[in-house]
């Protein structure tokens, strides 16, 4: 089975999860400054992990959120259900 699960990918997943959790919390607590600071700090880390991933494998997100080398890398396996 092909896999892209590795320490880097799992770090990115963990950051994304923490960001989702803070995002939902901020929706009902928009004035919580501590949560907002955590959110911004994790977004910075996530962005840097996503850039590293994109340089290696091509876009993580479609429609303009990452450049591709030639040939078009977006179509590359594995897709999440095949990992």
């Amino acid at each position: 089975m092909t896999t892209r699960y590795n320490a880097d990918f799992e770090k990115m997943m963990a950051l994304q999860f923490a960001i989702v959790e803070l995002n939902l919390f901020l929706d009902t607590h928009p004035d919580d400054e501590q949560a907002l600071q955590d959110y911004n700090r994790l977004v910075e880390q996530f962005e840097s992990e996503r850039r590293k991933y994109t340089e290696k494998h091509g876009p993580l997100v479609n429609f303009g959120f990452g450049k591709s080398r030639f040939p078009w890398q977006w179509i590359n396996a594995p897709w999440p259900w095949d990992m």
């Binding site: 997943m13 929706d27 897709w79």
Partner: protein, 191 residues
């Protein structure tokens, strides 16, 4: 616009092929309290919400639920992808197989196809937020039933994660209900 990110929220790994378990897990793919109903419910209810934070919360949880829908499909796919046909023939998944092969399809564990009657949008924020809180509790109960019938450790890790998300969403919808009710009272409208 919705964007696609090539990443699940939590890893999906299964121990062994198991078409019988796949059939049961389809409950959360196309059942009344499943992830598709959840996502469509929240994304559909956004338009008339009186508070911007309610529009944001429904957008965000509705989007997260679509990822959960994909995680459920991934569990089902991995349970049947390499399942030998003899194992499929000896399981309740065989009824799914004759129509859809190994591809997942939104129906419940008993094979009843998905329908939009599983959710509603009433243009009434208090009614809808209550529906959402009930839906999260029902989805949690379904995950607990699935955890009682599954012996696959990998599957159970993902199911436990998804169960916890239902608890968090219930909490957030409860907080939003408070905010919406405060707003309604401030407008001197009683509910």
């Amino acid at each position: 616009m919705f964007l696609y990110q090539k990443m699940l929220q939590f890893p999906v790994q299964v121990e062994s092929t198991n078409p019988a378990l796949a059939q049961l897990i389809l409950e959360q793919f196309g059942g009344a309290d499943g992830e598709l109903a959840a996502s469509m419910r929240y994304l559909t209810q956004r338009y008339y919400m009186p508070l911007p934070e309610a529009k944001a919360l429904l957008t965000d949880i509705g989007t997260e639920e679509l990822n959960h829908w994909e995680m459920i499909a991934t569990i089902v796919w991995k349970l049947v992808e390499h399942a030998p046909i003899e194992k499929i023939k000896a399981s309740p998944y065989v009824a799914h197989f004759v129509d859809h092969g190994r591809n997942p399809f939104p129906h419940n564990a008993a094979g009843v196809p998905f329908t939009a009657t599983y959710f509603n949008a009433k243009s009434d924020p208090v009614a809808d937020l209550h529906e959402n809180m009930a839906a999260e509790q029902k989805a949690r109960a379904t995950y607990e039933h699935l955890l009682q019938v599954s012996n696959d450790h990998g599957v159970n890790q993902t199911l436990s994660f998804l169960r916890e998300r239902e608890v968090v969403h219930f909490q957030r919808f409860g907080e939003m209900l408070d905010r919406v009710q405060d707003y309604m009272y401030s407008k001197r409208r009683c509910y």
